[in-house]
Structure formats: C-alpha cells, structure tokens
C-alpha cells in the first residue's frame, strides 16, 4: 500500500537521521536485530520501558538539582544509572551528555 510504504519510508528516514545526528549508535542496531517475528515489538517495548524509567530518573534528578547545596554524589549516581540505560538502548548522545554531567559533578561544578 502506498500509504504504508510511504510511512515506512518516512520512518526509515527519520531513523537514519537519528543515527546521523549521533542520537543513536550501534547498540540500537543490536536491539533491532533482536527483534524477530516472535517478538515483533521488541524494540518498541524496550524503548517504552526506557522512556518510562528515564522519565522517572529525570524527575529525581530535577528534584536533586533544586536542592541546595547540590548533592553531587547523588546526582552522580543518577547519572550513572541514566548513562547505563541509555547506552543499553544505544542512545549515544544522551550517554555522552550523562558523561559530561558526571564530569561536572565530579568537579563540583553546579553551573555546568
């Protein structure tokens, strides 16, 4: 069907751009490979899980950021968790940001 193939193409384009822009990396490809007929929605499932989990994590991070003085240790551990999740699904950019955030935490840089 035309509509379908059009949508497919759009999705494919979008996906490619995500890769190009560095949002996603090889790990995502691995996830895709895991998907098969038996689990057709695997990737979707995983990503949904990820979003839910990270939303929760981000909320706690925000909370921690509101406090003062900043508890860098806690922030660091949040970041570590977030980084782990992101890297598992291939969220490269997010992972990089997390790493950066952690650097700031280590340096005690609240502004960063």
């Amino acid at each position: 069907m035309e509509r379908n193939s059009q949508l497919h193409r759009q999705v494919a384009l979008m996906r490619q751009s995500l890769f190009d822009q560095g949002y996603l990396d090889e790990q995502f490809v691995q996830l895709e490979e895991l998907q098969d007929d038996a689990n057709p929605n695997f990737v979707e499932e995983v990503v949904t899980l990820y979003y839910r989990d990270s939303a929760r994590l981000i909320a706690s991070i925000e909370q921690a950021l509101d406090k003062s003085p900043l508890d860098f240790n806690k922030l660091d551990s949040y970041m570590h968790q977030f980084k782990g999740s992101s890297s598992s699904i291939g969220g490269r950019k997010v992972k990089a940001e997390c790493a950066q955030f952690r650097e700031y935490c280590r340096a005690g840089n609240g502004e960063g």
Binding site: Q27, Q30, L31, E33, L34, N39, F42, E45, V46, L49, Y50, R52, D53, S77, H80, Q81, K83, G84, S85, S87, S88, I89, G90
Partner: protein, 668 residues
C-alpha cells in the same frame, strides 16, 4: 519492584544439556528495567533459559529455592537494595555458581573489585550479544574444576583447571595462567569432552549447606576442636545421611578460610590497604560466601581440608600474631566470616576497624555467620590462646600449606580474586597446604591466604586460624560476623604439624579471588631463598597463592615464608615443593621466629606478588608453582602495603615467621 519472570521450565538438576550451551539456565539481576529486558531478550536469542529479577533479595531467594535450578548468574554492580558485590559473594558462598558482573562503569577499581570478589567475568554495558554468547564457558569451566577437584582431591597437580578467560577483566590471571596453561590445556582438551559429559554425572549433587547443617558442622568442629577437626570425625559427629567426607572437607576448608578472613585484614589501613583490602574483601567475600559453601568446591578442596585447614589455621593464627598488622586488615576483609579473627588480633587497634567491616560483611552471610559466630568466637579464642605465642612457626607453616591448598581448590572464579585478594588475605587460609610442609609457617600463610581466596575454604582455615592466633580480637568486633571469633590470624604456627597432611592431600582450590593461598606457594618458593623474614609475608599472602601451590606445596608454604622477601616469587610451582622442604628447615630453624622483621616487610611485596600469581592459577598443583610468581605484582604491592600496615600493628612477628606473614614486620 521485584519481578521474577521465568522464561522456561527449569531443567532440574541436570548438569549439561545435550545442546549445550543452549538451555543454559541464567539468572539476571538488574535494577534497570530497560537493561533487564534487553538482556533477557539477548539471552533468549542465545537459546538460554532466562529468569530475571530486579532485586537482589529476590534473586537470592530464588536461587535458594531452586538450588540446582541455575547454571550462571548475571548481576549488575550498582543496585539500590544490595551491592552487586555482596550479592556476588553470597552466591559464591552459598551456591558456588559462576557470577558475571555487569556495569556501565568500566573503571579499573571496580573491575578489580569484581575479580577479587570472585566474579567469573565482568561485562561493560552496553552489553553486546556476542559477549553473552560466551558466558557458558564459565559454567563449563567451573564444573570442570569441581569435577577435577573431586577426582583429584589431594593430588597436587591440578593441571586441568581450565583457565578462566576473562573477557573484560584480564588481570594477572592471564599472566599466570599462561605459564601453566600449556600443560593444563592439553589435559583439559582431552578431558574436556569427557568432563562435559561426566561432570554432570560425576558431579555429586551439590550439598546445600543450610543453616542447620552448617550449625551442625560448626558444633561438630567446635566439639572436636579446630585443630582436630578432621572431616571424617566431623562427618561422624554430624551424622547426616548422605553427607560425604568430601563435602565436609571442602566445607571445612571454606570455613577455615572464612575464619581466617575474619581475623584478617583490617581495613583501615591506609591507602594501600584500600587496594589491598579490596582484594581481600574479595577474598573475604568469598569466605563469607562460604556459608553456602558449595560442597563441590569444598569437596575438591576438602581433600585438603582437614589437614590443611588445620595448618592453615595454625598458619593463620600464627601469622596473625606476627602479622598483626596484616592480619588485621585481612580480618576486616573477612568480616564476612570472621574467619580470620586471629589475624585481627594483632591489629587490634586496626582490626577494630576491620572487624567493623567484617561484621558488616558477616551480616551478609545469612544465618550461618551468626550461628557460627559464637562458636567460632569460642574456637578462635581458644585457638588463639593456644597459639597466642606467635612463635609457632610450625603452625604457620601448616597454615600456609593449607592455605595454599585451599586456594587451589577454589574455583576459578576466585582466581582472579585471589590474585588480588591473595595478598591481602591472610595466607592462613591456605590451610590446604599440606601440613607436613610447613607446619607452622605454612599454616599461618595458608590461613592468611585462604582468607581471600577461599571463600569456602575459609572455613578450613579458620579452624587453623583459631588455633594459631589468639586473635580474639576480631571476634569482639564482629558482632555480626559470625566467624569473627576466629582469632586465627595471628598465630599460624600452631597448626603446623597437623595441617600439612591435609594440605597435601587436598587440592587447594584456588581461592576465589586471587586468594592469597597462592601466596603460600609463592612463599614457598620464596623460601628457597631462605628469607625467613619473608615468611611472614608469605604467609599472609599465601592466601592468594596457596591455591596454587597447595598441592603439595605445603612445604612451600613454609618456604614461602622464607621467600617472603623474595620477590622472585617466580619460582615455579615445582619449586614450591622444594621450597617447602627448604622452607621447613628454615622454618624450623626459625622456630622462634626471629625473622628479621624488617625484612619481612619488604619482601612481602615480592611474595605478595607471587602469591598472587599463584593464586591466579588457582591450582595448587605444580602448575601453580610455575605460575606462582607470575605476573601479578599488583598483589605484591598490595601485600606490601598490607604488610606495612600489619607490621605496625602487631608485635614484631619475627618469631612467627609464619609463612610469610610478615605481619610483624609490616610497619604500620
């Protein structure tokens, strides 16, 4: 939230499936649901049977409920309810399953910690499916070791120990393994096919050391007295149908190690300690995990157990006296079981801290530790007192050998740990070391070593430790640590005579984590150089080495002591034997242990190294010897640090000269 999902039906009690590695039963523990889901899918793709949980307590209870329901465990390092390493220790102790750690954190320290705690492997997140495809190798390896140990209990050469190949973490072990690998590899290859099949059939059903069973065990041991606690008698006393002597033996080994560990390393030692402790912790952790002591592991090591344990204890005890400095740190590490209480004795001041840690660790032990505690304390005290005089060189030797033995027996998982922890743990654990060899010196070492390596072995060692050291100190501290009561650490010498026998016979399982048991071997080798001073050092570090040289290196343990100073450590396992002989003479000569304490402090590093190397081998056999001194100098450093600390702690142990526990010498 704790979710437990089971992908397929369990293969009950079945060792290896026909389509191995398909059907491997994996348990995954991770608090991150995303990761958990991904891993589950990946593992299923590898055709494994997957069970997931997001909480450690759920995981542990699942494992306990299905004793033989899993082949391997994958665990995340950072978890909210329980630290991944603690979980690792528990599993290792109770079920002796291969455990793989995972984390996004790839820092060397963390990975090292994994190794020392006995992890079979360490994967960095994001996990690739290729990495998961190979995890079955750890299962096979472990089984093979256990099988072989059972078969060769008591035989020194343990060439079949497959070398663990860590994918991500490849510390010294590779270096060590390399040397003896060739010999072993050949053997392994031949036997591999058979073993695969045989292991499932030959493998004795794992004996689960439940709390009651362990209680019975401990009371039997106490009744007999740590020194005299030989598996046969314990078995009779326990009167449990279906329990074999090997089961008891290996359990005893672990127990001794545990004791040694408890009395071992004080953690507060500075800087160096941290690394040292880290290793020790691993060792201790292993010990603590002894609670579960898997019988197989024990059985394997068990062979060494009765005697080696004795020696180890003696060594441990003896050493602790001398090494107070070191022992304390070790004890701390051991907290889990307070096996190494004796060690703590010396460092009382230091040990205080250690004990604290020990107690913490001990807490982890479920059930068993607590029960053991009172008894152990008693034992330890008694033994400690008897050995109080550190001058029991004989014992230390014994301990060493035993410890050496012990470590060898230990599953390979420990190997890595051993190398690391070896140095830190009181060699005493080495109890495995054939008592004959080093009697006092060895014992101390063995005990010391075993601390780290032997998770299971600790038990055996502890016994030794108790006798040797009057380290009652650890006991006090470790309120939780059940085993803490074993003051063993301090005096190894006591057990000397008795343990050597065991040491020889039992194959020292490589301490879980680079157990110090190897140190004994290492030490033994060292002894050749007649560095009596080092003996102490050797002893302490034996834990890492003992494992290697245990096989017959009981003597070496004594030698190790001597060699403590020897950085040469490189002596092959074969040397250990010789060394042991020499060591003995040295040791005996040194009866009063006038070992130049100052030297001890220094050589330890070298010795430490060796033990570490030895440990990596994990096999007490000659194979270890060759490997003994391989490459791990990190351990040496650790040991040095440790020694330094210890020295400062206790009275100069020159008399001890346990096998290498340079506890005395170690300037704090």
């Amino acid at each position: 939230m704790s979710t437990l999902t089971s992908s397929c039906s369990w293969k009950a009690g079945d060792g290896v499936s026909d389509q191995f590695p398909a059907g491997l039963r994996v348990l995954v523990v991770d608090d991150d649901p995303t990761c958990l889901r991904i891993l589950e899918k990946m593992l299923k793709t590898c055709q494994y049977q997957v069970t997931t949980c997001s909480r450690s307590d759920v995981a542990l209870s699942t494992l306990r409920d299905n004793k033989n329901g899993f082949d391997i465990v994958l665990s995340d390092v950072h978890m909210p309810d329980m630290d991944g390493f603690k979980l690792l220790e528990h599993i290792g102790l109770e079920m002796d399953l291969p455990v793989i750690m995972m984390s996004a954190d790839d820092g060397k320290q963390v990975v090292m910690k994994g190794v020392t705690h006995g992890a079979c492997d360490y994967l960095i997140k994001p996990i690739r499916i290729e990495a998961l495809k190979n995890i079955w190798q750890h299962v096979v390896r472990k089984r093979k070791n256990e099988w072989k140990e059972l078969e060769q209990c008591g035989s020194v050469e343990d060439g079949d120990r497959p070398q663990k190949h860590l994918e991500d973490v490849d510390y010294s072990s590779t270096a060590n393994e390399g040397s003896w690998k060739s010999g072993k590899r050949r053997k392994e290859e031949e036997d591999d096919a058979e073993e695969r099949d045989d292991s499932s059939t030959l493998k004795k059903p794992r004996v689960v050391w439940s709390v009651e069973l362990h209680q019975q065990f401990v009371s039997a041991v106490n009744q007999l007295g740590i020194d005299k606690a030989v598996p046969k008698k314990i078995l009779e006393l326990m009167n449990v149908p279906g329990l074999t002597r090997e089961n008891v033996a290996s359990h005893l080994q672990k127990y001794r190690l545990y004791l040694r560990r408890l009395s071992g390393v004080p953690q507060h030692q500075a800087g160096v300690n941290s690394s040292f402790i880290g290793t020790q912790d691993a060792g201790f952790g292993a010990i603590s995990s002894l609670n579960g002591y898997e019988i197989q592991a024990l059985a394997a090591t068990g062979q060494l157990a009765p005697q080696s344990l004795a020696t180890l204890q003696a060594a441990g005890l003896g050493r602790s006296a001398g090494k107070s400095g070191i022992s304390i740190p070790m004890l701390d590490q051991r907290n889990l079981f307070s096996f190494d209480n004796p060690k703590l004795r010396f460092g009382e001041g230091q040990s205080q801290q250690n004990l604290g840690t020990n107690s913490k660790q001990a807490n982890l032990l479920h059930g068993i530790p607590t029960t053991m505690e009172p008894k152990q304390l008693v034992n330890l005290q008694q033994s400690a007192q008897s050995f109080g005089s550190m001058s029991m060189p004989v014992h230390t030797h014994g301990a060493q050998s035993s410890s050496l033995l012990m470590p060898m027996g230990q599953p390979q998982a420990r190997r890595h740990v051993i190398s690391e922890s070896g140095s830190s743990r009181p060699p005493v654990l080495q109890a495995n070391m054939g008592q004959s060899i080093m009697s006092t010196g060895l014992v101390g070492q063995a005990l010391g070593r075993s601390g780290t390596a032997e998770n299971g072995r600790g038990l055996g060692h502890n016994a030794i430790l108790q006798t040797s050291s009057a380290m009652n100190f650890p006991m006090n501290q470790v309120s939780d640590a059940p085993v803490s009561s074993f003051p063993i650490q301090s005096t190894f010498p006591t057990s000397k005579g008795g343990y050597p026998e065991d040491v020889n016979s039992s194959i020292i399982k490589g301490p879980g984590g680079g157990m110090p048991s190897y140190d004994i071997l290492h030490d033994l080798q060292q002894i050749r150089s007649n560095d009596w001073e080092f003996q102490n050092v050797g002893v302490t570090f034996d834990t890492s080495q003992p494992g290697n040289s245990v096989q017959g290196n009981i003597d070496t343990s004594g030698l190790l002591l001597v060699h403590q100073g020897l950085s040469s450590g490189q002596s092959s396992n074969g040397h250990n034997r010789n060394i042991s002989a020499a060591g003995k003479s040295l040791l005996s000569a040194d009866g009063n242990r006038q070992v130049t304490t100052p030297n001890v402090g220094q050589p330890p590093t070298s010795l430490v190294d060796n033990p570490v190397q030895i440990k990596t081998e994990g096999f007490p056999d000659m194979s270890y010897q060759a490997v003994l001194y391989p490459e791990h100098y990190s351990q040496e450093d650790i040991m040095n640090a440790f020694l330094k600390q210890q020295q400062g702690i206790g009275p100069p142990d020159s008399e001890f000269e346990f096998d290498g526990f340079s506890v005395n010498n170690i300037p704090v």
